[in-house]
């Protein structure tokens, strides 16, 4: 007879990993089911590879042809936390109550004071570096010292200040001092290839590995979950999975199930879990599952800082982006709802894809590229999307993947407010670069949309008719089913979501363990 766990968690990234660790530490027996293989940050990533180590100059994510973090699904224990850029921002009251403030989108069923203790707990556990900047729309947390700004960041900060635009140190879940179990960042600059010393947070080294020592956490890798099972008594009873290597089917039974396999895949899994009680997908009596898909939309501006053209190259790759343009739009007159934030990349990089866009050819061209190498800057702008009916997550019933499961498609359509935010954030980047006398290399186009940070599709809310989950990430329909990842966001904010996903997971963990103590999970 298969063992019965207290909680079965599908997925092992920021949501699943945090939830698993918190539950195990609180005395709950946890099974984590992950579709990909175990990943060892010390040996499995090409952190220090350079492009010319490979014939096609493309550095593969996994060493030695190993299966794993090769796609958007980021299958592998640790999920996308292995490859993230580690920006760790708190959401603000303005983010949680955006609808109340400007009438667009939806409010969260909780507010900043509900989240603040959980943000703090997570920051203390994982280590976040940053400054306390005292901004209204970007609450300060508990921080390690940030690395210094690069010279390009300082120039932009100076010029942005003349325009009344703030530029601050970014806040990242990367250790700038060693912890008891993880080394400090050594600024090799290849964070998103996987950090080989786990200075950058990942859910294995920082959350699950320590929790394994409780003896209450079991990880089932290479197990692709195809269905969350639900009984006729309306209780989630566990999951069915397919073993990635053998194709064998298996089941894990538990008293509570939490789905945390990243926004789009989590919604897909619930939609696939059709049953007599839930013919339209599990926990979908509201019909809201898959709706309100609100990923961040991006714009980008690339160019060169005049003051740095032709300067000597110094090793300032750092931990990629050191500077951030935080939300300030609410302080001025504007014709759109919500706001934007900008990640600012300066300093040298091992990738120089921009060189192909530098004009000319021959010795002049070669010199032009060389002079611009230390001066290159990218502004990556993130805007908040307002939910609309054309943006949704759905099963694509015409196509199946290698495991015979329907593919999941996510469609995002930008509307008028998005256009206005897009123009404003692009203009801010262009203005700053022009103020510093820089050269503009390229500006992205609104009509060629790019999205990042999948969010929404399984939103929380206080009304079960218009939302899927309550404020503890628990299903309105099924009392022992939780969803803990970016899909739960009712409004996206412009801020990078991962710290909030972890804080929500910690909050859900408290709720789950309380309910075990009260006997509600029998």
């Amino acid at each position: 007879v298969a063992p019965i766990f207290d909680v079965c968690i599908v997925g092992s990234g920021a949501g699943g990993g945090t939830l698993a660790a918190h539950l195990a530490q609180q005395g709950v027996q946890v099974a984590v089911v992950e579709g990909g293989p175990p990943v060892n940050t010390r040996t499995d990533f090409n952190t220090h590879a350079l492009p010319f180590n490979f014939a096609n100059r493309h550095i593969p994510t996994m060493r030695g042809g190993k299966y794993g973090m090769t796609s958007e699904r980021a299958r592998g224990v640790g999920g996308k936390t292995m490859l993230w850029n580690a920006v760790a921002l708190r959401l603000s009251h303005r983010d949680f109550k955006g609808y109340t403030i400007d009438g667009a989108g939806a409010d969260w069923p909780l507010d900043y004071p509900d989240m603040a203790p959980y943000y703090e707990r997570i920051e203390r556990e994982i280590g976040v570096c940053g400054n306390r900047d005292g901004l209204e729309d970007l609450p300060d947390g508990i921080y390690l010292d940030p690395p210094p700004l690069k010279s390009g960041d300082l120039l932009l900060q100076r010029d942005a200040k003349r325009l009344g635009i703030p530029i601050i140190h970014t806040r990242k879940a990367t250790l700038t001092r060693p912890s008891a179990t993880r080394l400090a960042c050594h600024y090799c600059g290849n964070c998103m290839a996987g950090c080989d010393v786990a200075a950058k947070y990942n859910s294995v080294d920082a959350h699950m590995a320590p929790a394994m020592k409780t003896g209450r956490l079991a990880i089932f890798p290479n197990s692709v979950v195809r269905e969350v099972m639900v009984s006729n008594e309306n209780r989630a009873t566990g999951v069915r999975f397919i073993h990635r290597e053998t194709g064998a089917e298996g089941e894990i039974r538990a008293r509570c199930v939490a789905v945390a396999c990243a926004c789009v895949q989590s919604v897909g899994l619930l939609l696939m879990s059709e049953s007599r009680l839930y013919p339209q997908g599990l926990a979908n009596s509201s019909g809201q599952l898959g709706r309100n898909y609100i990923p961040h939309f991006n714009s980008g501006v690339e160019g060169f800082l005049a003051d740095l053209i032709g300067r000597q190259v110094v090793n300032d790759e750092g931990f990629i982006d050191h500077a951030y343009l935080p939300s300030y739009m609410h302080l001025q007159k504007r014709d759109y709802a919500r706001s934007f934030g900008v990640q600012i990349y300066t300093g040298i990089r091992r990738t120089t894809g921009w060189a192909r866009e530098v004009p000319g050819f021959g010795a002049d061209y070669k010199l032009r590229v060389k002079q611009r190498f230390p001066a290159y800057v990218t502004f990556q702008c993130f805007g908040e999307m307002i939910p609309n009916p054309q943006s949704y997550i759905q099963l694509d019933k015409t196509e199946k993947d290698e495991f015979g499961l329907y593919k999941v498609k996510a469609i995002a359509v930008q509307e008028e407010n998005e256009r206005k935010v897009y123009e404003a954030m692009t203009k801010a980047a262009v203005d700053i670069l022009q103020k510093s006398g820089g050269e503009i290399l390229s500006i992205s186009n609104f009509d060629v949309p790019t999205f990042n940070h999948a969010l929404g599709g399984c939103r929380m809310g206080s009304d079960p008719r218009t939302s899927v989950l309550n404020s503890y990430c628990r299903s309105h329909d099924v009392p022992n089913l939780y969803v803990v990842d970016g899909s739960v966001f009712p409004s996206a904010s412009e801020k990078n979501p991962t710290l909030t996903i972890m804080a929500l997971a910690a909050r859900a963990a408290d709720n789950i363990s309380d309910r075990f103590k009260k006997g509600e999970m029998a």
Binding site: N46, H48, R124, S151, A180, P359, F361, F373
Partner: protein, 198 residues
């Protein structure tokens, strides 16, 4: 160094003080890089190779173009950095690029014949540069195609310039020697920069 037991205790003490489970910097020395498993593909300057896609005659034109785009100066140029081999590899795996290159290589010779009476490789360096100057104006200044820069030639030039830049600046010669990239080292602390008037 804080022991694990102490560290967990401090983690558990949420909200008491701003006490981090972080010690001083004594762990830096523990960072040892495991060897990278990718085989180094550095191309020795002048090393011959067997093209997978281009004919020997085409390879000569591609190599000439690559070296006109990124010539040897005080550092080696595109051919010495193995760019033709890289272009051959990429085009071999991309049917769309194959069509662009097949048509473009033919078109280039046709334009060379029309303008200067010989195939591209037989032109003087000044004539070759003149042809590329017409093409680069069309790509950089987004000018409409002309007789001297027909659409096929322009698309081809855009493609080969892009691949030459990609291949060169991802080579050891391009990235390390020409650009002076030195970012992959281990720093105990990130340097402090200052700028005037800040």
């Amino acid at each position: 160094m804080t022991s694990r037991r102490e560290a967990l205790k401090i983690i558990g003490a949420v909200g008491v003080t701003c006490a981090f489970p972080f010690s001083a910097n004594e762990l830096y020395g523990q960072h040892v890089h495991p060897p990278t498993q990718g085989e180094p593909q550095d191309v020795k300057p002048g090393a011959p190779f067997e093209p997978q896609f281009f004919s020997p005659a085409q390879l000569l034109v591609v190599s000439r173009l690559a070296d006109l785009i990124i010539p040897t100066t005080d550092t080696p140029g595109a051919v010495a950095a193995g760019v033709p081999q890289y272009i051959d590899l990429v085009v071999h795996g991309d049917p769309k690029l194959q069509a662009t290159f097949q048509a473009g290589l033919q078109g280039l010779d046709k334009t060379s014949q029309t303008r200067f009476g010989s195939a591209f490789l037989q032109l003087t360096e000044a004539q070759q540069v003149e042809i590329l100057t017409s093409l680069t104006q069309a790509t950089d200044e987004k000018k409409p195609p002309t007789e001297n820069a027909p659409q096929g030639d322009v698309s081809f030039f855009r493609a080969i310039k892009g691949l030459t830049a990609d291949g060169y600046y991802t080579s050891r010669i391009g990235l390390m020697q020409e650009l002076g990239y030195n970012g992959d080292g281990v720093l105990a602390a990130f340097p402090v920069f200052t700028i005037p008037e800040h």
